[in-house]
Symmetry: C2
Subunit: 400 residues, 2 copies
């Protein structure tokens, strides 16, 4: 751990590394933004070593120290030569993107839960900032948001359900957040776009990089109607570890994570794990037990206490404050016959469908005494459930 | 309530109603059996009024009082004229059936839980006896038994899963109990028969009555390989209330109830409710959320805490004593790359697939200092995960 010294950014700017350029480019806000942009280039998302060394230090100070090649920071030296936050900010602007940092109006405070989650697992940590492409306001878009994630190689069932649920969520004013991958992710974005509603793609690469390439038209539409967000600066490619780090962000930024089709080994289960650690709702959509694609969802319900989600209402209930947004339980339609008292039910059960039977016969069938049976037959006739004929009683034909 | 008098069965036999014939036909065992056979004819399964009036009285005494037309018992008088337990026992024998009563070797004690359940709901109560057709021993067959129930109008998915799970249960030595209806019930019986294993059909009519008629060949096969069981005496037809009463018996007789495909309004949910009240395991098999047939199963999991069952192991775990029969959790296959320490993972992530890159370039991509990167590259080369060439490193081709 390095101790908190009084190095200023100005000193760092004039005497620092050659790659960063002047870090002071206006007020403190710009200085902070430049430092954070630089850090987002140099330090990998969720870098455990960085979390340990820099824990609690202001971003500008971390940046200064890196610039000065302070001892013990060699680990991050190799990228410093390439780091140029000015250039990254310009590059972002060219791509129609901005860099949102803590303190900005648009900053979604809820991702700071990752500071706590970082004490539990590796690859946590709050992003230095978020690169954001699109017109929507990031913070506002995330005030009521659900992540919908799942298998890339999903089934048509999974794709259908992801599209329908996401459209329903968007229609209910909930932002649909996903990872922009093939399969469930793409279906989730498309479902929300179709409404039209707000959707956010959180990428494991730069916001100007289309990965996967075949989804580039989708990313353009997402950026038009919603937002494309990344922790990594422009131009960065995705890596396996970046996907995992990205998952923590999706989980932390939303009130709940819905898993639709996930194999046992799946990034969606990783996202669900992060959601759990962040105290967010974890939901899983069931599917056929004959489908390997639903095995992960079923595992979440059985072993990790995820809420079984079958429709939009289930999801909204799970992300709503306690006691609000309650789902309407499906109810069986009640027929008049269901509400009868036991003797009436037994008598009704004993009345023939077509061929009339006398009360004495019905009493034997029902196993009731004759007076009770006769009373019941009168009541059932009055309710028009049965019909009396000269030779006895039969069921009334069902209403047409 | 009538008080406990000292009327004997002999008196009842000589002076009682004309329909019953002599109730004493040998030792006390026969007397008790005749009384219970008579009661199973006169009193409807789960008759709440009977439970109240006769609570705690020995069966033989209840039968005596009915025969004597004691005041307050008019309710059950109409059927007395038709009741003839001798004839019913003979009729059962002709159909290859016997009447099993409490105290018999074959009596399954666990159904007596229904005496307690009767305090909670109507239509409970312990059966006076069970009419049993087939060679198997009822008690033994039910020492490890699961009821598999569900929709009549099931989907081919439901039918497939019911068959497979029941075959798996039967193969594991678990008796499959169901209700002999179309759909899931029939598939459950067939699955168990195919193994071959033991299956029991519990009917809402007499054991000599084939309802539904189209399942009569199935009932014959069930009676050959397992048992056909009913609370109602021979010749009785099913009624709506008898189906509900039958459900309590299926739930009480088994260690767990598995619901496969049940609409919101469904007899299977009624059985699940009884299983819950009897303290038995309740399990539900998920299905597509797009299928109305699985809505009841999902409701059980979401709102009534049923265990999500995806395979035979899940079911066996649920019915096994605590800590035994545990299911093997599905595990993702671990690759060598998963077990690497974070620096090795980051380095590996930064190594190109095909075109070799030098260590200096890989260090920048990985965001690690050069010495760490070089150490990691050596370790990864030793693990044969990467290959060194004169111009740098690339990933080793995957093993074939």
């Amino acid at each position: 751990m390095i101790t908190n010294t009084t190095l200023t950014c100005a000193e760092a700017g004039s005497g620092g590394g050659d790659g960063g350029g002047p870090v002071v480019a206006g007020g403190n806000g710009d200085q902070e933004r430049l430092a954070r942009a630089g850090l987002s280039r140099v330090i990998e998302p969720g870098d455990l070593a960085a979390l340990k060394v820099f824990d609690g230090l202001p971003a500008a100070e971390i940046w200064d120290r890196l610039q000065q090649n302070a001892p013990g920071l060699e680990r991050w030296s190799t990228r410093l030569a390439d780091a140029n936050p000015h250039r990254d900010l310009e590059r972002a602007a060219t791509a129609g993107a901005r860099f949102v940092i803590p303190g900005d109006d648009e900053w979604p405070d809820q991702v700071e839960i990752l500071e706590e989650a970082g004490q539990l697992t590796r690859r946590a940590g709050v992003p230095f900032g978020l690169w954001v492409r699109g017109q929507a306001n990031l913070r506002q878009s995330l005030t009521r948001a659900v992540s919908v994630v799942g298998a890339r190689a999903c089934s048509s069932y999974g794709e259908h359900v992801a599209t329908e649920l996401s459209a329903g969520l968007a229609d209910a004013g909930v932002t649909v957040v996903s990872g922009g991958a093939f399969g469930i992710d793409a279906a989730a974005h498309r479902g929300a776009l179709a409404v039209p509603g707000t959707t956010i793609a959180v990428l494991a690469c730069g916001v100007d990089v289309s990965y996967p390439k075949r989804n580039s038209a989708l990313f353009s539409r997402v950026a038009e109607a919603g937002l494309v967000v990344a922790e990594l600066p422009p131009g960065c490619s995705p890596t396996k570890l970046r996907f995992l780090a990205r998952n923590r962000l999706i989980a932390a930024a939303t009130q709940g994570t819905v898993v639709i089709e996930a194999a046992i080994r799946s990034g969606a289960l990783n996202t669900a794990g992060w959601a759990e650690q962040c105290g967010r709702a974890v939901l899983a959509v069931p599917g056929p037990v004959t489908s390997r694609m639903s095995a992960g969802s079923h595992l979440l319900v059985r072993e990790r206490n995820a809420v079984l989600a079958t429709n939009v209402a289930d999801i909204i209930e799970a992300i709503s404050p306690y006691g609000t947004g309650l789902t309407q339980l499906p109810r069986a339609p009640q027929s008049l016959a269901d509400t009868l008292d036991p003797d009436l039910q037994r008598t009704l059960d004993a009345v023939p469908v077509h061929h009339p039977a006398p009360a004495t016969r019905i009493a034997v069938t029902a196993g009731l005494d004759l007076p009770t049976t006769q009373q019941s037959l009168e009541a059932l006739t009055a309710l028009t459930l049965i019909t009396q004929t000269p030779t006895g009683y039969h069921l009334s034909p069902p209403p047409t």
